[in-house]
């Protein structure tokens, strides 16, 4: 029998057992949709992370108050951009809750390390801003203008960077310019924290958190942000001369700061030192683990779907036993019967795959939409708000779906093919 005929008979079997076939297909749809949505959200988060981290320089080391082994940067690095890519209007509270144990003394002390090219202390927080009657919160970074222009990695779209001696001027990120302030241009005035500032530069869109920040001289920032001082910093940002010596530089920084803070045991340090490279590896590993874990959960639903296909094919074989006998009596070979039932389960896998992929893309879009509009999602919400469905994912999952169909149909199809015609014909 030609394969096309076996295929048509398989279609005929499915068409004449619609309810059972659809119930089986729904099982596959759920499994495939779960895998597609989880992997696309995972890929989107990975891509967002890479985009954000790529906007940072590998030669940057951040020192933050408080000790956080896992995410030192979370405590408040705001120099060359950080992970997250938050919205233009900050959701956080004014000022930092971290202990203010990084001081100008620390900065002066660290300047003695040979591999340090640039160093500055920064303050950061969020405050109200007003432009043309529109009020909202913006994230503000107070930086040393002379050092910041050597550390910032985002290019200018228009205007200039901050310069030494600047006062009451700001450089704003692209999202702040476009969304928060409705395409504001350089030389326009905005009110931030009750003071008027002139925009001297607008940064290009980077995909990183620079897009949603306002940079100003630290002396201005301490005036408009609550509980800030130009002698206590939310973070110290260091640019190294030689990247290959980063680990050694981190060790020196740690050693000097422990000495400066009077700490003798490394377990009691009141600061954290993080290099961008280490952070990238750490977050990437965490994201990968999360993706694998969630995919494993999704795979379980696919396994349940596969068992559904097997059950459905077994039922089909039982229902069609007499017809298998008829086909064999009129000349069908074992391989013809095998092909019919393999096609049967592959078609279920195919339809389940196509619909599952479609629903998975829709579901990931829906989750991303929800996360994007959520005001409580935090960093995870921002990651979930980007999904990426790669062509490889679609092709891979599609092939997986058909393979699952074929594999789960293989045993019942084989058993059907081995039925003796006389036994099949006697089956009631």
């Amino acid at each position: 029998m030609k394969l096309s005929k076996s295929f048509r008979i398989a279609l005929n079997i499915i068409a004449h057992s619609k309810i059972r076939s659809w119930l089986t297909i729904i099982g596959i749809i759920i499994g495939i949709a779960a895998i597609v949505s989880i992997l696309s959200i995972g890929a989107g988060a990975q891509k967002t992370l890479e985009q954000n981290l790529n906007s940072l320089s590998a030669d940057i080391i951040t020192i933050s108050p408080g000790f956080s082994r896992a995410m030192g940067a979370e405590a408040g690095f705001r120099g060359g951009g950080d992970i997250g890519g938050g919205p233009g209007i900050s959701q956080g509270t004014s000022g930092s809750s971290s202990p203010k144990n990084l001081t100008t003394t620390d900065v002066t002390l660290l300047k003695g390390i040979a591999n340090i090219a640039q160093i500055m202390g920064t303050v950061s927080g969020s405050t109200n801003s007003t432009y043309l009657g529109k009020t909202g919160k913006v994230s503000v970074d107070g930086v040393d203008p002379a050092v910041w222009r050597n550390i910032v990695t985002t290019d200018l779209k228009s205007g200039r960077y901050l310069s030494q001696g600047d006062t009451n001027v700001v450089v704003i990120g692209s999202r702040v310019a476009n969304s928060t302030f409705n395409n504001i241009q350089v030389n326009q005035q905005i009110t931030i924290g009750g003071q008027t500032f002139v925009i001297v530069g607008i940064l290009k869109e980077s995909g990183g958190s620079d897009d949603s920040r306002v940079f100003m001289p630290i002396k201005n920032a301490v005036n408009i942000l609550e509980d800030k001082s130009s002698k206590n910093f939310d973070s110290i940002v260091v640019k190294v001369k030689n990247i290959s010596q980063t680990d050694d530089t981190i060790a020196q920084i740690t050693s000097k700061l422990m000495l400066s803070h009077g700490i003798l045991q490394s377990s009691k340090v009141d600061f954290s030192v993080t290099s961008m490279k280490a952070m990238q590896e750490s977050v990437s590993t965490t994201l990968n683990s999360m993706s694998i874990f969630l995919s494993a959960i999704a795979a379980i639903s696919l396994i349940v779907g596969a068992i559904g296909i097997m059950n459905s094919t077994f039922t089909s074989v039982l229902e069609k036993t007499r017809e298998i006998g008829i086909l064999k009596a009129i000349g069908a070979r074992n391989k013809d019967i095998l092909a019919i039932f393999l096609f049967n389960s592959a078609i279920i896998g195919f339809i389940g795959g196509v619909l599952g992929i479609s629903f998975g893309i829709i579901a990931s879009g829906f989750i991303s939409e929800l996360a994007g509009t959520s005001t409580t999602g935090g960093m995870m919400g921002r990651f979930l708000s980007f999904t990426y469905v790669s062509p490889y994912l679609i092709i891979g999952v599609f092939l997986l779906s058909i393979s699952v169909g074929l594999l789960s149909g293989a045993i019942p199809a084989y058993r059907a093919s081995r039925l003796r015609p006389v036994d099949a014909l006697r089956y009631e």
């Binding site: 029998m1 004449h16 009129i330 013809d336 006389v422």
Partner: protein
């Protein structure tokens, strides 16, 4: 002339597990020559249907050999057996055994498509066969939309699809009224006159009179063979 069907010391025994075995055929020796019209008759449970299954290569003997057109069925591969069933033998069953989701036309076509006859050729030939059995206008009806007699006529058309040398029929009139039954038997006789070898199983002695030879089976053994000098014309 070598017989087209030859059963040589054939035994059939079913294993019944702990209950032991059940021997349903013993020492069957039977030759059917080309163009013969043979009836196999006997009481229910005598083993006549088992003989038919063995003759049609739907089953294999526990002991002994069956030769179809000189080929020992036991020595044929699964594929060769399937080809033999598809091209050399046409089956007509008491229960009609049509594919319920297929139309009459498709039921006839499938027999040809299984042996790789091109679709167009199969369609034309199937339609002609349905016209031959008087069902040209019901070609697109499903079995459930046909009467028993019509279904059996579709089954006859299917049995003839690949122009087989041997027609094997198991109680072909068992589920039909007497008038339709007569039509079926007359049709088989006309096929026999055209040179087809026909072997049919029946428990009705009256129908056995259509055959040129009647094999009587009792308790799994051939009790006697009778050549019918006064066949029903």
């Amino acid at each position: 002339m070598e017989p087209v069907i030859k059963m040589k010391d054939v035994w059939k025994r079913y294993n019944m597990g702990k209950a032991g075995g059940l021997t349903v055929l013993k020492e069957i020796n039977l030759d059917v020559k080309q163009g013969e019209f043979v009836a196999i008759t006997g009481h229910s449970g005598s083993g006549k249907s088992t003989i038919m299954h063995l003759l049609g290569a739907l089953d294999t003997p526990s002991y002994g050999n069956i030769y179809l057109k000189g080929k020992n069925v036991k020595e044929l591969s699964e594929d060769s057996l399937a080809l033999l069933r598809g091209k050399t033998i046409g089956f007509i069953f008491q229960q009609f055994n049509l594919l319920p989701t297929f139309s009459a036309l498709d039921n006839v076509m499938i027999a040809m498509e299984i042996v790789n006859t091109p679709d167009k050729e199969a369609r034309v030939k199937a339609m002609n066969l349905l016209i031959l059995v008087g069902l040209g206008e019901r070609a697109h009806h499903k079995p459930t939309e046909l009467s028993g007699g019509e279904q059996q006529r579709v089954a006859i058309a299917r049995a003839l699809a690949n122009d087989p040398e041997i027609i094997i029929a198991d109680e072909p009139t068992g589920n039909l009224d007497s008038q339709t039954g007569k039509f079926v038997m007359d049709f088989l006789r006309s096929l026999n006159k055209k040179g087809k070898t026909i072997v049919f199983v029946t428990h009705e002695l009256e129908l056995a009179k259509y055959a040129s030879r009647t094999i009587y089976v009792k308790d799994g053994k051939i009790e006697k063979e009778v050549y019918n000098k006064r066949r029903l014309k």
